[in-house]
């Protein structure tokens, strides 16, 4: 139960959703697109989130699409993580998404909701960053298709009133060898410390990291260091750690030194798994 009231809308088409947002925005209602809605429900309960108008987009047909074709996989933004896992059309995504929250909660949390969330983990974006996926957006200025690596810098840089509709991923990335591990400080169900997702394509390793910095990222500098084949695994990991984006988180889940320690060992595991380089 939330301590504030809002109007609830469930538009049937993308155009209706976009127009509704603009109309409500002009009225000063601070409208919010709502998919799984877990973030509004949990943060709103403790007054960390607020809206006067919820636009629930999860029943819009384009947003629920799951389509495999000869060259690509198309995933709608309002598919629940559970639906994506059960279909298992993108094994790296299945593995990475299966570590978000817990199984029941993933029946509510959606792909687009996780990617566009305020929570800094947002692990579901990592496989798409590695696969150079394309995102379909719709907003007041119409539709556009954009490479995710152009528009995701710490967060998805949507224009005001814009919706993430679908994500398209080429099959050659879906079939690529991968590595995906989530480390927690305690047990299997504690809060996450670091998630690392990697895949190998054209003899190069690609790496995405969540939980290290206050945003998920893929870094060319980190990848270059890890792919420096003339060096030992220790040297490659040290080189990658030297060029990490900043800041490295230092909080109750783990100090920055501890996070770097965990990351170094994840890099060793990754190199052993994908590049057969042992420490």
């Amino acid at each position: 139960m939330l301590p504030f009231d809002f109007d609830y809308y469930r538009p049937e088409t993308l155009n209706d959703a976009v127009e509704l947002f603009q109309y409500l925005d002009q009225q000063g209602k601070q409208p919010m697109f709502f998919s799984g809605g877990t973030e509004l429900i949990t943060l709103g309960r403790i007054n960390l989130d607020y809206t006067e108008a919820v636009i629930d987009i999860k029943e819009i047909a384009e947003c629920k699409m799951m389509q495999v074709s000869d060259d690509q996989l198309l995933l709608g933004s309002t598919l629940s993580l559970t639906k994506i896992e059960e279909a298992n059309l993108f094994p790296l995504l299945t593995k990475t998404a299966s570590e978000v929250a817990d199984h029941t909660a993933r029946g509510k949390i959606t792909l687009g909701g996780n990617i566009c969330a305020q929570i800094f983990y947002r692990e579901a974006v990592l496989p798409f960053l590695l696969a150079d996926s394309q995102v379909l957006l719709i907003g007041p200025n119409g539709k556009r298709i954009v490479p995710i690596n152009d528009i995701f810098q710490g967060q998805l840089r949507l224009e005001r009133g814009e919706i993430l509709v679908q994500i398209a991923t080429e099959n050659r990335f879906i079939r690529a060898p991968f590595f995906s591990v989530k480390r927690r400080q305690q047990w299997d169900t504690g809060y996450p410390l670091i998630t690392i997702a990697a895949l190998k394509i054209d003899q190069q390793v690609r790496v995405g990291i969540s939980g290290l910095c206050p945003f998920p990222f893929r870094s060319k500098e980190v990848e270059d260091a890890l792919n420096n084949k003339g060096l030992t695994a220790e040297e490659r990991a040290a080189g990658a750690i030297a060029v990490l984006p900043q800041p490295v988180l230092d909080d109750v889940e783990g100090s920055s030194e501890y996070r770097i320690f965990v990351l170094r060992n994840l890099f060793y595991d990754l190199l052993a798994s994908l590049d057969r380089v042992q420490v």
Partner: protein, 151 residues
Amino acid sequence: MKSYTITLNINGESRIITVRSADTLLYILRELLGLTGAKPGCLNGDCGACTVHIDGWPMKSCLMLAVEAVGKKVTTIEGLVETPIQQAFVENFAFQCGYCTPGFIMNCHSLIEQHPNADDQTIKEWLESNICRCTSYIEIEQAVKSVLRKK
């Protein structure tokens, strides 16, 4: 107050209720409909005590607005009658205080229906969604496995 009169399908019955858009499904089940089987625990989607079924899949009813349930089939623990998993919880002593039990049973029942051949990893993945402070985990695992074996 932003209120809506909606029809929900709950345990096979149509229930017409007036809710705030900000009411969670958990709240209206307990406070408006008297279905107190779904338990409030963390209210944050962490503990699983409020688990119900939406179209046969487990859902933490504290993470869903009542208005989102329009057009869905909602099942609460009151809607499960003499299912094998309920009997198995009794036979295996799969609880102590019982507060988490309705949520666990709802999750286990959906698991058994969706994955009748569930392996250990699938069982663990699903049941990680619920917390039992009396730590009856071994007995709960035995209860689930006893039903899966019979299937």
